[in-house]
């Protein structure tokens, strides 16, 4: 009896010792939902609403991927990550994709072994301070206490900026945006520095947002984008073209509302390819051919996603700026769908 039990145990152990080599897509399909890493909460980008549903600009990238894979944008499980935990969480396979305003850098791409699938928000690092401090420029911040999220590019830029300008500061390290906001509002730090989009989200949560101003300096390039693990190209392609689909849809004037009428009236072949009316594009990476239709129908085009979550009518009041389509003077430019 005992021998039997032990050999059963051994069999179990050797079963686990043959590591599964299935691709991410197969894993996701077998599981029935996409595992997506987001922030611990950043208004407009990723935050649960009153009924506990995740909403936001980054969240919608995850939803687009779910719409592409399952034809159902709700098939996502969200995992919160901090600036520090996001990379180990992705590397270990706990999540399939990380959509958490993460800056595309050389070392993250090459050394950490990730694949950025594109840029969904062109950003830069700014400084948020109380208007009452009367500071006009970041170079006047000598001796200030600065709240900074650890494990970020912005932490490194901060050190560089103060060193380059030969001024000193006291760094107040925090793990999450919520902590930074509390410390800033309490006066533990004079200034909070992070991506300008994050600063807009932070200021929007102040009792009186007008009491807070952004200094004129933008000290870095922060191209934010979703990323996956190195090595699984099919999965990388799926996430990349989920984002590209939203960008092309805006360029072509397709929205979640007008999609069906546009399809009926239009004869632009790229729209037919994008929505699966023509060609076998989805099948090329193992999805149904109408994956693009599902993304646009269920999540919307890039512009819709932007305006709904962070645009001028939201508390964040962010203008499109660099994040307008190239046809409108912005940087959004997807390779063609063919």
């Amino acid at each position: 009896m005992k021998i039997l039990r032990i050999s059963a145990l051994l069999a179990l152990v050797s079963f686990f010792s043959a590591p599964a080599i299935a691709g991410t897509l197969e894993d996701v399909q077998a599981r029935g939902f996409v595992k997506c890493g987001v922030t611990t909460g950043l208004l407009g980008f990723a935050a649960p609403d009153d009924s506990g549903n995740w909403k936001g600009f980054d969240v919608d990238v995850c939803r687009a991927v779910a719409a592409a894979v399952f034809g159902d944008s709700s098939k996502v499980e969200f995992t919160t990550t901090t600036g520090k935990t996001r990379f180990p969480t992705l590397a270990s396979g706990e999540i399939d994709v990380l959509a958490r305003n993460t800056t595309w850098t050389f070392s993250r791409d090459v050394d950490l072994g990730f694949e950025f699938i594109g840029i969904n928000y062109y950003d830069g690092q700014g400084f948020l301070i109380p208007a009452s401090l009367g500071v006009a420029s970041a170079t006047d911040l000598d001796g200030a206490s600065v709240c900074i999220q650890t494990g970020t590019t912005t932490e490194l830029n901060l050190a560089d900026f103060f060193r380059a300008n030969s001024i000193s500061y006291e760094s107040i390290p925090v793990e999450t945006n919520d902590e930074a906001r509390e410390n800033l509002f309490a006066g533990r730090c004079d200034v909070y520095t992070t991506d300008a989009s994050g600063l807009a989200a932070t200021a929007a949560q102040a009792d009186n947002p007008a009491d807070w101003i952004l200094l004129p300096e933008i000290i870095s390039k922060e191209p934010l984008g979703p990323l996956v693990r190195h090595g699984d190209h099919v999965w990388g392609d799926i996430v990349r073209w989920s984002l590209n689909t939203m960008i092309i849809a805006e360029e072509k004037g397709l929205t979640s509302n007008n999609l069906d009428t546009k399809l009926a009236m239009n004869n632009d072949p790229e729209i037919f390819r994008l929505t699966g009316k023509e060609g076998e594009y989805g099948a090329m990476f193992g999805l149904s051919n109408d994956f693009g239709y599902n993304i646009i129908k269920q999540v919307g085009n890039y512009g819709e996603v932007f305006e709904r979550n962070v645009g001028l009518k939201t508390p964040l009041k962010l203008a499109r700026g660099l994040n307008a389509p190239w046809t409108d003077g912005g940087l959004l430019y997807s390779p063609p769908f063919r």
């Binding site: 152990v13 686990f16 070392s107 050394d111 650890t150 560089d160 390290p173 925090v174 693990r229 190195h230």
Partner: protein, 385 residues
Amino acid sequence: MFKIDFSDQKLRAILIQTLVVGVLAYAIFWLVQSTSYNLEKRDYKLGFGFLNDPAGFDISFSPFYSFVATDSHIKVYLVGLANTLLISFVGCIAATFLGFSIGIIRLSSNWLLSRLAYVYVEITRNIPLILQLLFWYALLINLPRLKNSIAFGEAFFLNNRGLNSPQPIFGDDFIYVTIAIILAITVSIVFSRRAKKIQEKTGKQYPLFLINTASILLFPAIVYFIAGSPLEFELPVLIGFNFVGGMKIPPEFMAMFLGLSVYTASFISEIVRAGILSVNKGQIEASRSLGLKQNRIMKLIIIPQAMRVIIPPLTSQFLNLTKNSSLGIAIGYADLVHGFGGITLNITGHAIEVMAIVMSTYLIISLTIAFFMNIYNKSIQMDGR
């Protein structure tokens, strides 16, 4: 034919143990193998070269080293280690004092005091430490702001960015004062030993405490004045965004200090109470009938015996406190886990190496504490028991 007799207890034991060892060995083998397989698959290059790379970020709380962003990750490690040791050390000392006091008060015959001690213990040991840390931090963060600091004269300023205090600046001649202090302490120790011997022989008692304190305070004081007062204080002054000059204890450190010591003290107080209660009542009655006063009974009869019961569990409280200091991450205290175990790991991606280093460090710290506490424990055990 050879037949295994399963009813033979010895044989059975050997068989089972062989099996257990075999399974364990296989499990370890499998763990190592599948880890290295997965590392290879993920293109993970094990190695420690990254330690020499420049950190790139700043650490502001570094009382022992000056740290700049161009320093290496090794320096990040050292700064974090120093901060971990610092908070553990002061935390253990404060927790011990507080714990002993509460434990003794808990046993006091004063109903109100003993109830208060009871309430303290029940509250602090039943609320998770992390919540207590957050509580202390929230409290400190809501102190008056910089401009409205609570001032104690021109010297101390308390605000939600910490406590600013004067910084002593030692002149060159202060070395004489230092020598005087060392000398006075040595003399006091020698004197105490002598006095003890005399007391054992003749029963004659000296007011040791008084004499020693007087010599340790007075002698260096005289030298200090002869050397021309070689000590000055630099006062903190509010200039621009922050106080400049003086010393500063940030709220992150204060919250850690309060949280760790208040929490651990409640456990220590229970240990102390148990230790004192373990001393036979008859001994107290006997000493009372010998005419000893209450505080002497405590000092000469109860505490020495209670210590034998107290030290081993006290050691584990010190170990707990040290390990709990890694919760500092929740309030931004720059300890080992925060900087090296967090930011360095994040930037370099060498999670396995970093965590291995951090874990071995905690192991070594714990073993060192346990080692010294064991030596102390041995020294107070009664001979011949």
